[in-house]
């Protein structure tokens, strides 16, 4: 079976020395830590979207829950967003990353107990941080709202999990590195660097004036473009070849994507209209525009891997999620490049376009890719299928929800920006703001779909867990009874 090994998936038979560690054994080593990360991620996702709906309602029905200070917009909105990013995205990303690292290295997951401790700590930090935001202790910096008594816990929890990931990679038995391992390793190191820098310069020893805005924008962009981007792409490049059972088209394009994103992608994020010396936003938009190259490279590499096998999309739900994620990555990337052009950004600056774009990346690309990966991994961890109807429901709810949300706010934002830039209309600022209401109502509908999808997601995971534990309980009972009878 190995005429041209370089174009074949290297499989079980490596001569006679069969691999000492099988996939099943690796899955067993991943079971507790990875499941813990996934279930907590799903729970935070649901919490986040419930808070998100409350925040979204406030735009057109400001009286709802207005008497409760904990649930005012300024607190609910950041709490929802932090739950989505730190509660869901990072935990899901770490879980998928750990599983992929151990499988690609064909070695058991290292330091599983440390990961479990890390995950528990992380969720503790998340709980404290969310309460902190709701009680009014927010730091006021976008994406870094959690108060310092929570961010410290998160930092060390991450280090624990990151350490285990690096040790797993180090102890790998398959020495040759696959592109996903490059991406994951970089992501693992990137977050502690940007998180500690941003915390130090914004919260613990704050720099002055507009420097704060620069650092926050830098942090947000790096978290999205690099951490979410690398972790998500690692999954894309792992699962698509794995599921359609064909090699990735090009290793070199993968490396090319890695370096161009790491070098240029990390400059972006500073809006053109910001009150800074012009060279800073100018350099930033050049960086953002340059990411068109890696984005096209991703499209090319994925397409070339798929070509001739697109029909396999219909047979695998995880593949559907991941392919949608890849499509969203490319589309949102192109929209991002478009938005970095001055003439365009003059229009969409300070409008609903920006949240639509962020949601497209974070949800359309990253979350969808993670859902697919999780639906692929969990049945293997538990040796049991997830209800396929449930998965299908989740897919369509999420897909429709994200499309409604992104399209309505995207179009609404462009319209809002065009009217705002018309000097005559700006006099009637309230009128312009009111005209965005239909779009906001539509986006709340999108949010509702997404939230329903999240409920289904959590139920899918809990459902299979309950079934598995019931089954193993009853087999244990049967075994017990037999033993008694025999005695």
């Amino acid at each position: 079976m190995s005429a041209t090994p370089s174009t074949q998936i290297i499989s079980i038979d490596r001569g006679n020395e069969a691999p000492a560690v099988t996939s099943v054994q690796i899955d067993a080593s991943c079971r507790a830590p990875v499941l813990l990360l996934f279930i907590s991620a799903a729970a935070w996702l649901l919490i986040g979207s419930l808070l998100g709906i409350i925040a979204s309602l406030k735009f057109h029905s400001p009286n709802i829950l207005a008497s409760c200070p904990l649930l005012t917009y300024g607190r609910v909105h950041p709490a929802a967003w932090n739950a989505l990013i730190y509660g869901f995205a990072i935990q899901a990303g770490l879980g998928v990353g750990l599983w992929v690292l151990s499988h690609l290295g064909r070695a058991k997951l290292a330091m599983a107990p440390l990961i479990v401790i890390g995950a528990i700590l992380w969720n503790l930090g998340m709980t404290i941080g969310t309460y902190g935001i709701l009680y009014g202790d927010s730091t006021g910096f976008e994406w870094l709202e959690m108060p310092r008594y929570a961010s410290g816990i998160l930092f060390f929890a991450y280090l624990a999990i990151g350490l285990a990931a690096i040790v797993t990679l180090h102890l790998r038995r398959e020495r040759e590195l696959y592109i996903s391992q490059w991406l994951l390793l970089a992501a693992i190191f990137w977050l502690p660097w940007i998180y500690s820098t941003a915390q130090l310069l914004l919260v613990f020893k704050p720099v002055r004036g507009v420097m704060q805005a620069i650092i926050d924008w830098w942090y947000i962009n790096n978290l999205t473009t690099i951490w979410l981007g690398f972790t998500g792409l690692a999954a894309t490049f792992y699962f698509i070849p794995k599921i359609i059972n064909r090699p990735l088209y090009s290793h070199y394009i993968g490396i090319f994507i890695f370096w161009t994103l790491a070098i240029f992608g990390s400059w972006g994020g500073i809006p053109t209209g910001s009150p800074l010396p012009t060279w800073i936003p100018a350099l930033s938009s050049v960086g953002a525009a340059l990411t068109i190259v890696p984005v096209l490279a991703v499209a090319f590499n994925v397409h070339k891997t798929f070509v001739g096998n697109y029909s396999k999309l219909s047979s695998s739900m995880p593949l559907k999620f991941i392919a949608f994620g890849a499509l969203a990555y490319v589309l949102s990337g192109l929209v991002g490049v478009l938005a970095s052009i001055v003439q365009v950004s003059e229009v969409i600056n300070f409008t609903w376009f920006t949240p639509a774009q962020t949601q497209f990346v974070v949800y359309g690309f990253f979350a969808m890719t993670m859902f697919g990966a999780i639906y692929y991994i969990v049945p293997r961890l538990l040796q049991a299928d997830i209800s396929s109807a449930g998965v299908r429901w989740h897919f369509w709810l999420a897909l429709i929800g994200v499309l409604i949300y992104v399209v309505s706010l995207g179009v609404g934002g462009v319209e809002q920006g065009t009217v705002l830039n018309n000097p005559k209309a700006t006099a009637d600022f309230m009128g312009v703001t009111n005209s965005t209401l239909p779009f906001l109502r539509a986006s709340t509908t999108g949010d509702l779909f997404i939230a329903l999808g999240h409920l289904v997601f959590l139920l899918n995971l809990v459902g299979v867990l309950v079934r598995v534990s019931r089954a193993s309980f009853s087999t244990a009972m049967v075994a017990n009874r037999r033993a008694e009878v025999r005695a």
């Binding site: 691999p19 990735l248 010396p277 293997r380 040796q383």
Partner: protein, 205 residues
């Protein structure tokens, strides 16, 4: 953990980890990157304000920023002049109206200050002034003004006189440090205060 034997979830492909082919990256990608980098450089050349920290939008270069800056005739001298004037303000008052208690005449609107060139007032500040003097039709003379030639440099005297000639509605040309320097050299041997009649002999160009 007992896998259900009826449903073999782990297929053969599960043992196979994905590999990547070594297909070469298309040249077009590298060319596109090079073109984008070049375009980026051009863009930065035109829009980055020469990487100068003082250039903010919507300006594109430091020269543009400078051009948009309001220019005053005295420029930086006014800032220094205002500082030096704190000494004069003790007698001539911060608003330049003079003071009856020390018999200091006003500087605001004084023909001595704005009348012509700075030849006479430079001499007044260098050596001081005593004796009867008429300012704007009123007679003064009971007080005296001390000499400042040892207290202030040429720059400081030029600055304070520029300030005095451009404040409180006064409008006259700035005073150059070189002029002060020349007059200081010319009058170096004069030990006493000026008297108004002597000053009137000095040409006021």
């Amino acid at each position: 953990m007992s896998p259900d034997p009826k449903k073999p979830l782990i297929k053969a492909t599960d043992e196979a980890e994905p590999k990547a082919e070594r297909s070469a990256a298309p040249v077009a990608l590298v060319v596109l990157l090079a073109l984008m980098v070049f375009g980026g450089m051009v863009y930065l050349g035109n829009n980055a304000g020469g990487f100068n920290a003082q250039v903010y939008g919507p300006f594109k270069s430091h020269d543009e920023v400078k051009g948009a800056q309001p220019v005053s005739k005295g420029g930086e001298a006014l800032v220094l002049g205002k500082k030096v004037y704190e000494t004069c303000a003790a007698c001539h008052m911060p608003t330049g109206v003079g003071s009856p208690t020390v018999n200091a005449p006003p500087l605001a609107g004084s023909e001595w200050v704005v009348g012509g060139g700075p030849n006479r007032i430079i001499r007044i500040v260098l050596n001081g002034l005593a004796g009867p003097i008429e300012v704007n039709g009123k007679a003064y003379g009971a007080g005296a003004m001390p000499a400042f030639k040892d207290s202030f440099s040429d720059e400081q005297i030029a600055a304070v006189l520029t300030y005095v000639r451009q404040e409180w509605g006064n409008k006259a040309d700035p005073v150059k440090p070189e002029t002060v320097k020349a007059i200081r050299a010319e009058t170096a041997s004069k030990g006493d205060n000026w008297a108004a009649p002597d000053l009137l002999q000095v040409s006021d160009k």
